[in-house]
């Protein structure tokens, strides 16, 4: 792999020696403090040195008199943060969307929720908040109380007709049978070909990031678990890992292995759900019913290990809440063996079924350069030849000790993305069996203090849909100061806007489902 041995800190040091301040070991591998627009120079240097530089998230902070803007960047072998600050009475900062186009959504969100103005942004406007929101009120600022905001109806807007008579705008959503959750996509079509897609997200915005600031850390574990119903364990795990980084607690080894088992069970049921849902979108209801029939034993396993089919609530700061009983292990192994024996049938269907291949092959092609520029994550990236997987790049929990393969396909179409997920199902089964066989003895939990000293930490994990990023800032009380979540679907939607152009309108549902959208995650 080219560029995998580049020491990105050296590159930045050599190019911008005295203009920036590098703090090693903070917020990832290093935190780079910049001001007066130098963040663009740092980014340009990084992009030129390493092609896999991508924006993971942009966090906005309310620091009293200033607003902090943190750019979290990932490269092939490092994870850094660039710090910048702008004063509250003139919160202007220059955009980075010309250097890294995938930062469009991230900047829009910080602008919407905190009021930072990104100069040069291609399409400013409301993103997560509704048009009914009062002007000048930014909910994540500390002086805004959530129950004192009054909504006013927006001024009436005349409907703008497109100039060309043949060009028709079709609105997909907010309520639509193709979407599981409400979002609006205004698709401009010319005949049957798509020319432009304009998204409007924010229909399921519940203000969870603000809600975490008024609940204790212990209660927040359950709150962030409910950001998403499908990948709930991963959210809880990432949050407790971040808090444990601030507390500098060491989790016992048995807890690490038990966490891996819970996370991989979550990944299994999520991938089976997507594979079935994709079948439904192309009209293949039989495949959908078969996949969901095979998903039911996994839900029963999750119920066996955690007491509930969906929200497992297993994670807590300092370990896991319950142990794995030895009497349950034979049932877990039998169910996983059953699932493994069913996979060759599905692989053959994907290889040989003519109508499925006609709908999925060469549909929604995402080329490798586009995948790198748009900062996509997860199976969408791995289906286009970009081999990023947090479990391999920066192992967390017990993943450093468990052998497994990273699945990469290069064609970049819907069919490859689905195949990535199907192969990952097999890898997850292998990981769970290895973890159960090598489960260390000892305690599964240590006691953690309820008051967290002041500090901040970042953490990223591999959710079923991609890289999930958490940033937690604490201020010495039982309530966190700021929790920032960047979910994988948030980073993947710009890829859909790119792949849908030039395709048939009938290809939009399978194309869309192949990036596995989860809008509850996106909107929080």
């Amino acid at each position: 792999m080219p560029n995998s041995n580049i020491d990105i800190i050296n590159v930045i040091e050599s190019k911008l020696k005295d203009k920036v301040q590098i703090q090693l070991g903070q917020l990832g591998k290093a935190a780079i403090v910049t001001n007066d627009g130098l963040h663009r120079d740092v980014l340009k240097a990084m992009v030129e040195a390493d092609e896999k530089t991508a924006v993971s998230a942009i966090t906005g902070l309310d620091l009293g008199a200033n607003l902090g803007v943190l750019y979290h960047i990932r490269t092939s072998n490092a994870f850094l943060t660039i710090r910048a600050e702008v004063p509250k009475d003139n919160p202007k900062i220059q955009t980075i969307t010309d250097i890294i186009p995938g930062a469009v959504f991230h900047e829009l969100e910080v602008a919407d929720l905190l009021g930072v103005v990104f100069e040069g942004h291609p399409s400013p406007g409301h993103f997560v908040l509704s048009e009914y929101w009062p002007q000048g009120v930014y909910p994540l600022r500390k002086d805004v109380k959530a129950n004192e905001i009054k909504l006013n109806p927006p001024p009436p807007e005349e409907a703008k007709q497109p100039e060309d008579e043949k060009v028709v705008k079709i609105i997909i959503g907010p309520q639509h049978p193709a979407l599981l959750e409400p979002e609006k996509f205004a698709v401009t079509v010319d005949g049957e070909t798509v020319t432009k897609v304009e998204p409007r997200i924010g229909y399921v915005h519940r203000g969870i990031e603000k809600a975490t600031e008024s609940r204790t850390y212990l209660q927040d574990v359950y709150l962030v678990e409910r950001i998403c119903g499908i990948c709930n364990s991963i959210h809880a795990c990432s949050f407790v890992e971040t808090v444990e980084k601030i507390l500098k607690t060491d989790v016992p080894p048995r807890a690490k292995y038990l966490r891996v088992v819970a996370l991989e069970l979550n990944r299994l049921h999520s991938h089976l759900l997507t594979l079935g849902h994709a079948g439904l979108e192309i009209g293949y209801e039989t495949l959908f019913q078969y996949f969901w029939r095979d998903r039911e034993p996994i839900m029963d396993l999750i119920e066996l290990t955690s007491g509930n089919r969906v929200y497992s609530s297993l994670m807590t700061v300092g370990g896991v809440r319950r142990d794995l009983k030895d009497s349950d292990i034979p049932k877990i192994k039998a169910t996983l063996e059953d699932l493994r024996n069913k996979l060759p049938f599905y692989r053959q269907v994907y290889e040989d079924e003519p109508s499925l291949k006609m709908r999925m092959r060469n549909v929604g092609i995402l080329k490798r350069e586009d995948a790198l520029k748009l900062c996509v994550v997860g199976p969408v990236a791995r289906g286009s030849g970009v081999d990023i997987d947090v479990r391999k790049d920066e192992p967390y929990e017990a993943y450093g000790e468990i052998p497994f393969k990273e699945i990469v396909y290069t064609a970049g179409d819907t069919w490859s993305r689905m195949n990535v997920r199907m192969d990952e199902v097999e890898e997850s089964i292998n990981i769970i069996e290895y973890a159960i066989d090598h489960l260390p003895t000892g305690p599964f939990r240590v006691k953690a203090p309820r008051v967290v000293p002041a500090g901040e930490a970042v953490n990223r994990v591999e959710a079923p849909r991609g890289e999930l990023f958490y940033y937690v800032k604490s201020n010495g009380t039982v309530f966190p100061d700021r929790v920032k979540v960047r979910t994988p679907t948030f980073a993947n939607i710009p890829a859909f806007l790119k792949t849908a152009i030039g395709e048939n309108i009938a290809d939009i549902p399978p194309n869309f489902v192949s990036l596995d959208p989860c809008f509850s995650c996106t909107d929080r």
């Binding site: 079948g279 009209g283 293949y284 209801e285 029939r293 109508s355 006609m358 309108i505 009938a506």
Partner: protein
């Protein structure tokens, strides 16, 4: 003189009531077969083994509120579904069900073409009903209905001519009764192609695109509620029964089969229903096993594959009938 026998034949058996009950029964069979293939149970609560489920769905729809959009074309919106249903039932009445058709004197030379024309008119009325609802999804759905059935009508006519050619007549009654050896054995290629074309005419998977609810919400049914939606669904079900009955008449020997004892009317109806169920099961199997094709794939399949195959099939049948079969049969 009031001909009670004729009125009975038109209204009860084998006319209107019988066709309606047969439609509801075939709907139940379809849903059960689809459910069993998908490893589920299907309807199981309404009536024994769920057999009253289609009737329950129909009655439920009749009790719902009937909303009309303000901008819809009122007359067409109201009457197109009902008219389509009427025409389909009328077309089904031409098929011999118990040995002779509903109006026993209605069979004439050429009624095969007439009932295929009726099907086209009914499909066109369905297109109009979607078009009149003044909704972008309805417009797209009904445009797809039109493109699909107009395209597939041509091979349908050509393939329907094959058994007519073997039997030497364009009257359905004559075709059905002249099948000493069922035409499925004499011209199996035509049977396979006819089943595929019938799938496209009936808008079932893999040619399901006008009803694709993941893209066009409801297609032409989007703005319909209440009683009118009930009639649209019923029209679709009667179309399926009609299509399968046509296959039975043209290729499987119609209602004619061995009469073991008693009334021939009873046995002819029984054979008809059994053969109908066999065809319904085959088409439902094809529906469940395939995914849904895109509209451009459907159309290119028609013009590039099905239509040339239909022409070739007709030529092959003509050659066989003229030269080979008189030497063998």
């Amino acid at each position: 003189m009031i001909d009670f026998d004729l009125i009975f034949r038109i209204l009860v058996f084998p006319g209107f009531t019988f066709i309606l009950l047969l439609t509801l029964f075939c709907d139940w069979v379809e849903r059960k077969i689809e459910a069993r293939i998908q490893n589920r149970v299907g309807p199981m609560v309404a009536g024994p083994a769920g057999i009253l489920q289609p009737l329950a769905d129909f009655i439920k729809l009749l009790t719902k509120e009937d909303i009309e959009p303000r901008d819809a074309k009122k007359t067409v919106f109201k009457f197109a579904p009902l008219l389509a249903f009427t025409i389909m039932v009328f077309a089904t009445c031409f098929l011999p069900i118990d040995g002779s058709s509903v109006l026993s004197v209605s069979g004439f030379n050429g009624d095969l073409i007439v009932i295929l024309a009726f099907v086209t008119i009914a499909n066109f009325l369905l297109f109009l009903s979607g078009w009149a609802s003044c909704n972008p999804y309805g417009a797209i759905g009904s445009a797809r209905v039109l493109t699909q059935f107009l395209g597939y009508d041509i091979p349908l006519f050509l393939l329907a001519l094959t058994p007519a050619f073997i039997a030497g007549s364009l009257s359905i009654a004559v075709i059905a009764s002249s099948q000493v050896i069922p035409f499925i054995i004499l011209a199996p290629w035509a049977f396979v192609l006819f089943i595929i074309t019938m799938q496209a005419e009936l808008e079932k998977d893999p040619f399901d695109i006008p009803h694709a609810d993941s893209e066009v919400v409801g297609g032409l049914e989007t703005e319909y509620t209440g009683g009118k939606l009930a009639f649209l669904h019923l029209t679709r079900d009667v179309q399926i029964v009609f299509g399968s009955a046509l296959v039975v008449e043209l290729f499987l020997g119609g209602p004619y089969g061995p009469v073991l004892f008693g009334f021939s009317v009873f046995w002819y109806s029984l054979w008809f229903v059994l053969k109908l169920l066999a065809v319904v099961i085959i088409t439902e199997y094809i529906t469940t096993v395939f995914a849904r094709l895109r509209i451009d794939q459907v159309l290119s399949a028609n013009w590039k594959i099905i239509l040339p195959a239909a022409v070739l099939s007709l030529m092959l049948t003509v050659a066989l009938v003229t030269w080979i079969y008189p030497m063998v049969v």
